[in-house]
């Protein structure tokens, strides 16, 4: 018994690593485990970065980095990994751009307490999701809202939306594209002002 080597990782949930991680596994992992962290990640970035216009870019950058890393090896603790990546990214940006963030990037330790516990993000998101979606829908420009309502709530295809609204299919596409982006931001709980659109 004593000579049995201890493998810590075996007691935890085993993750596949190496080339065995397929693209679709990364996709599923990203959608199931990373995206639900978006609200928390966004507030972390906002808290630690002065320029609000950079937040969406930083978030995307974190996503790209964690996905690239996951291709090589799935992290044991997604939440800790995502926030560590975000922190390192901010630190590198600070060094490179010689800018001073609002506060030193020190939140991670405070955050670290919660990193091991399963986060509340998922349930919190689910509870508020419909309300946020409804708010986002209400704030869309009227014609855009009409197109999105016809398409998403009444389930009409684009061609019919165009006929009902008496506008071109290209115009419908434009409204839907804008609506999709705004609603998707709302789904992930992004604060209203992370994105400004013309």
């Amino acid at each position: 018994m004593a000579e049995t080597p201890e493998h810590k990782s075996e007691s935890a949930e085993p993750r596949r690593s190496g080339a065995a991680v397929t693209a679709s596994e990364v996709e599923v992992w990203f959608i199931r485990e990373v995206l639900p962290l978006e609200a928390a990640l966004t507030s972390f970035l906002r808290h630690n970065w002065r320029n609000r216009n950079d937040i969406a870019d930083l978030r995307q950058d974190v996503y790209e980095r964690v996905c690239e890393a996951a291709h090589v090896q799935m992290p044991e603790n997604t939440k800790a990994f995502v926030f560590r990546t975000a922190r390192n990214l901010l630190i590198n940006r600070v060094k490179r751009e010689h800018v001073v963030p609002i506060e030193a990037v020190s939140d991670l330790d405070a955050l670290g307490i919660a990193l091991d516990a399963p986060g509340p993000e998922r349930s919190v998101l689910a509870r508020d999701e419909l309300r946020r979606l409804q708010d986002a829908l209400d704030r869309l420009p009227p014609r855009c809202r009409e197109a999105v309502t016809l398409g998403r709530i009444d389930g009409l295809p684009g061609r019919e939306i165009a006929m009902r609204m008496g506008i071109s299919e290209a115009a419908v596409s434009m409204h839907l594209d804008h609506g999709i982006r705004v609603l998707v931001d709302a789904v992930y709980g992004a604060p209203e002002d992370t994105r400004r659109k013309p």
Partner: protein, 319 residues
Amino acid sequence: MSEGSPARALSEIEAEAAAWVRRRNFWDFSAEDQAALDAWLAESISHRVAYWRMESGFARTEKLVALRDPKSEAAFAGRRFPVLMGIAAALALFAVIGLGARQFVMHPQDRVYSTPVGGHERIAFADGTKIELNTDTVLRARMTTDRRMIWLEKGEAYFQVKHDPAHPFTVMVGDRRVTDLGTAFLVRRDESRMELAVVQGRVRFDTGTARRPDTLTSGDVLTASGSTVSEAKRSKSALENELGWRRGVLVFDNTTLAIAAEEFNRYNRQKIIITDPAAARLAMVGTFPIHDVAAFTDAAQDVFKLRVENRGSEIVISR
């Protein structure tokens, strides 16, 4: 960005991702379109991440369907757009959707309507009849001046028929025939069996053989498989649960995990597989968004302490 390369602006990539999501969800999406999307995704991790985020976020906006008043039948097409329910709109709704038309003997008046896996389509006809197509469904409609004929080729559809004795409304399921007598009903066709549930009013059912026609009324559920026909009575709430898909939800009430998984698999490309027979027999109660496979497997994990392994195209549930 991270490499300091002149990467394209995120907003541009997000706009493209949103456009793909829009094209996939609101326009006919051909195999060539899919190939173009795959190529775009293969170009960079930025594209993939932006698209995954957009697509799965958009799937979750399905919740908005809840804003449609489920109790009011008028909520669908009628009430929201009373002015628009004229002939023009009805004509527009006749636009042929999708594939599969070649498989059938087509009459010039025939229109084929279809939905992909996970799809949900509503059709309103000029006579006031409404048909809702559930996931993976193909039906053909022939509306002429003297009669109204529907062939349910596969899948499931909910019919709300504007009754008109002068213009009988008939749904053909293979050689079985359902004729409206003033009603709303649900018909589902699998490979080997059909189910007919009368939600409101009456329908007549006959098999095209010597067997005498049955008249079914509200709450009656008929199952036909081979030459066997059986009938049962179902409560109003059980029927409402069965129609949950119209609101974008699956409702389970003392349903075994096996059946619940089978239901999810009808709507989603990622399939749930239960390897343990005892686990498959566990019964559950709950309402889930139709595309939220994760919510279901989380419940299986949390409530029943089962193992859930996500393998990409499938999720395996075991002990």
